[in-house]
């Protein structure tokens, strides 16, 4: 084992130790007491916007019977599409559509992985 390998290894180990050691400390006041800080959780977030949450509760929580009527599906989808640009957790499509898309995604992933597996073992 060369000296440079040992040096690189020691540098890596020291960096890893420092990383986990520093991670548990709070950031300095210079970092936390700023006006222009990104508001991940607070009231400034659109997620917590009263109007947005009102819209969200209408879309998600209320089981409006008209939504499931076949003749109303197209208008309903357009309403949902308008809500997509919001960062609120809006259901963008019906649960049935989501399940099918998820299932299709899973099948696609499996097929791609198996094809890669086959090609690497050919």
């Amino acid at each position: 084992m060369s000296a440079s390998t040992i040096l690189v290894g020691v540098l890596g180990a020291a960096s890893a130790f420092m990383f986990f050691y520093l991670l548990r400390f709070k950031a300095s006041a210079k970092q936390t007491n700023r006006d222009d800080r990104i508001d991940w959780y607070g009231a400034g977030s659109k997620v917590h916007d009263p109007e947005g949450s009102a819209d969200q509760s209408n879309d998600v929580d209320e089981p409006v019977p008209e939504i499931h009527e076949p003749q109303d599906r197209t208008p309903d989808r357009s309403v949902n599409l308008q809500a997509i640009p919001s960062s609120a957790p809006v259901q963008t499509s019906s649960p049935r559509l989501n399940k099918w898309l998820v299932a299709a995604g899973v099948v696609l992933v499996v097929v791609v992985l198996l094809s890669f597996y086959e090609s690497t073992n050919a």
Binding site: G12, A16, L23, W40, Y41, K46, V47, V90, G105, Y117
Partner: protein, 263 residues
């Protein structure tokens, strides 16, 4: 309404796998709240899991292990999508984010991605002996430097920082997606991704820089979550995001070193 339409559309993180929906709730008065120490512990556990399966896929070279690795990688992708959701342009959220799943999906992700990391590392190590040790060391060195810069306030993430980073990250994601399509159609890869000239090295340096800057956002999310009493599961969520960015950074550093060594 935000001043930036992109922030409203895509959420508030530059990390492709973090969406603002994740932070839609705060801990109820009786619930356990997240702590910095908890996030550190979870990050350590997830990295240990990644190293464990990386070691397995590196050392055991059998067809059965190959199949297990592929299943693991697939499970990791599914776990990531289940937790962070899946957004498609012009369609919206096909699958909305479910951060409360993170305590279950984060270990699946870490174990599954470990197989991928092991296979990739083994391939590079066979070509360039010693490169993995260098890449691991550099990854932690870069991560520690970014953490130090964040904790001391040298780098201060604000909305403009977030917006620029988001745009750059999406640019890289789209480049890789376009390359995937191009490879499937023509059997070749984009010149800039494999070129060991200045253009290819410059591109790799740019990607490494963007991956490193994404770490700052992960630190900020964890820090702010602990400050504001986010629910306990955000520890897993933050740790998963951090591990995800670290794995990305490691792979990009590996590619950069390979380009430099092949000159």
């Amino acid at each position: 309404m935000s001043r930036h339409a992109a922030l409203d559309t895509f959420g508030r993180s530059g990390n492709p796998l973090i969406r603002s929906n994740a932070f839609d709730s705060t801990a109820a008065p009786g619930d356990e709240k997240m702590t910095l120490q908890g996030a550190v512990n979870k990050t350590s556990m997830l990295l240990a899991m990644t190293v464990l399966t990386a070691g397995l896929s590196w050392n055991i070279q059998t067809p059965a292990m190959g199949l297990i690795s592929m299943i693991g990688i697939g499970a990791a992708f599914i776990a990531a999508i289940a937790t962070f959701g899946f957004y498609f342009f012009f369609v919206g959220w096909i699958l909305k984010p479910r951060p409360h799943l993170a305590p279950k999906t984060a270990p699946i992700y870490a174990l599954g991605m470990g197989f991928a990391v092991g296979l990739i590392s083994q391939t590079f190590e066979a070509q360039f002996p010693g490169i993995v040790l260098q890449a691991v060391s550099l990854t932690f060195f870069v991560a520690t430097s970014m953490l130090l810069a964040y904790k001391t306030g040298i780098i201060k993430p604000d909305r403009n920082f977030l917006l620029m980073l988001f745009a750059a990250t999406m640019g890289i994601v789209l480049t890789y997606l376009a390359n995937l399509v191009y490879t499937l159609v023509t059997g070749n890869v984009f010149f800039v991704l494999t070129d060991n000239g200045w253009m290819g090295i410059g591109f790799s340096l740019l990607v490494v820089a963007i991956a490193a800057l994404n770490l700052v956002l992960d630190f900020d999310i964890i820090e702010q979550g602990a400050e504001r009493g986010a629910p306990k599961y955000i520890e897993w969520f933050g740790a998963m995001a951090l591990v995800m960015t670290l794995i990305w950074l490691y792979i990009e550093i590996l590619r950069l070193l390979a380009k430099l060594r092949s000159r």
